[in-house]
């Protein structure tokens, strides 16, 4: 068994443990609360890449961990990664990792990345049992290589189908949805872990759209290339208040044919992106995808009839900035 495989098995095997439900830290003041006020300054987006990140078909776990450390240090401007994580989370908090597993293996948040984040959260003082890896459906998680874990003594890996939704609708603008209890009741803070990829209807799916996995009716929000739905869903208060950071899994990027996995339209980006500002991250990710489309001779998304106008709408909502002059793009 390779080191990577052994390590992953340890992680997945350790994903047991108990949902303590509503008692898990509701009302505590979270650390690292994302500031959604673009007027306060420029929004930092860090891109870290490693050309040798891959080992065989997937990422090398050791290299991915180092890349993650480099990303976090650059994002927080600190000398060591642990200090960065301590700025993001506090001991005693319940931290959710919102992965994106719709596409199964190939175009989902890599378990190796989640494993690396979990290790660092624990080093920063978060208990294993206070970590929840979640997405819309448990079967999506399984398809992406995660093992469902619902026990009460270690980290949990579960879908909203097991965790449940609120009974009352939350609404903003065009959005009216039941929110996932993972977000509203269980987690004090959420780290958003989208994937860098194209979307056949709404153009791209990155940080903002990944929170479609926190509502019961995402299928209702795709008309008009997702505008203003993607922005409106993110305006729902628990999402705005609890998502602290987005770390985009860009080990591979997919520039066409998403959100399903299409290997023929994927390429090795070998990187990670981080931002507190989801609008800045989405705008940056969109430009990366457009560059790759241009390199491959594909039409820009605007000409393909699926420009992600909801990014501008999200900026108008005050969720962040899509003004390149106000995005501080750092290559780590």
């Amino acid at each position: 068994m390779s080191r990577t495989e052994a390590s992953r098995r340890r992680f997945l095997g350790g994903c047991l443990a108990g949902l303590t439900g509503n008692a898990c830290g509701q009302g505590r003041a979270p650390a690292g609360q994302a500031k959604q006020d673009p007027a306060a300054g420029r929004s930092r987006v860090v891109i870290a890449r490693d050309p040798a990140l891959r080992a065989g078909g997937g990422p090398d776990s050791a290299r991915l961990g180092k890349l993650l450390d480099r990303l976090m240090q650059a994002f927080y401007g600190v000398d060591n990664a642990l200090e960065a994580w301590r700025r993001l989370v506090r001991p005693g908090e319940v931290i959710g990792l919102k992965v994106n597993c719709l596409a199964g293996k190939g175009a989902s948040t890599h378990p190796e990345l989640v494993e690396a984040i979990m290790e660092r959260l624990q080093q920063a003082g978060v208990r294993s049992r206070d970590i929840l890896v979640w997405d819309r459906l448990s079967e999506d998680l399984e398809s992406a290589g995660y093992r469902i874990a619902t026990g009460r003594d270690r980290a949990r890996v579960m879908g909203n189908d097991l965790l449940g939704y609120e009974d009352e609708l939350s609404a903003y603008g065009s959005a009216a949805s039941l929110l996932a209890k993972a977000l509203t009741q269980i987690c004090d803070g959420v780290i958003n872990l989208p994937v860098l990829k194209d979307h056949g209807i709404v153009g791209v799916t990155l940080a903002l759209k990944n929170l479609f996995g926190a509502v019961h009716n995402p299928n209702k929000y795709h008309p008009n290339t997702g505008d203003p739905y993607v922005a409106d869903v993110y305006m729902l208060p628990p999402i705005r208040q609890k998502v602290r950071l987005a770390i985009c899994d860009a080990v591979s990027g997919q520039y066409e044919g998403g959100p399903s996995y299409m290997p023929q339209w994927s390429w090795p980006f070998n990187g990670l992106l981080a931002a507190r500002d989801p609008v800045a991250l989405d705008w940056t990710g969109w430009q990366i995808l457009e560059q790759e489309r241009a390199r491959r001779g594909l039409k820009p998304l605007r000409d393909a009839g699926r420009e992600p106008k909801w990014i501008a709408t999200a900026a108008r909502h005050g969720l962040g900035t899509n003004d390149p002059g106000r995005i501080e793009r750092l290559e780590a």
């Binding site: 078909g57 719709l102 079967e139 299928n219 959100p259 290997p263």
Partner: protein
């Protein structure tokens, strides 16, 4: 009266014909591949499988989607999706809507394309996609072999 009786009989036969389906177009074993988990999604539930991507299948008239995970003897993994449409035109529309750039034509179904680690083909009112998680010439050929096994089951299906 007799005409009415025949009409009713023909209507029943047509309804029964519409309900007929290929029993399971995804073989348990084929060309070195073994089938794992299989799922079925009716049109109204397809979004649970592909979320926003469901829209283009719905517009093309999807009736249901079958999907199965496959593992080869050497450990390679793949997913096979069989989209059953209401009419052959829907399968044709889906097939032709996807860029052919970087593909090569393959002799599977009524039209087929291999992109290397994935392929698509159509047969009657079925649109089929096979996707592997590894990329090599051997995988591409193994996918084509699996596709031929699926196609054989679809041949003659209603």
């Amino acid at each position: 009266m007799r005409a009415l009786g025949w009409t009713a009989l023909l209507a029943l036969a047509a309804a029964a014909g519409c309900a007929r389906r290929a029993p399971d177009p995804l073989p348990a074993e084929a060309a070195g591949w073994s089938k794992g988990r299989t799922r079925s999604f009716a049109a109204a539930e397809l979004w649970r499988y592909v979320n926003g991507d469901a829209e283009r299948y719905l517009q093309a008239g999807v009736v249901r989607t079958l999907t199965a995970e496959y593992r080869s003897r050497n450990g390679s993994e793949a997913v096979a999706d069989v989209h059953e449409m209401s009419a052959p035109e829907g399968a044709r529309r889906l097939f032709e809507s996807e860029p052919a750039a970087g593909s090569r034509a393959i002799q599977v179904g009524e039209a087929g394309r291999s992109y290397g680690p994935s392929l698509t083909f159509r047969r009657g009112r079925y649109f089929v996609r096979l996707v592997a998680y590894q990329d090599s010439a051997e995988i591409a050929e193994a996918l084509i072999a699996l596709a031929r096994a699926v196609d054989a089951r679809l041949r003659g299906a209603p």
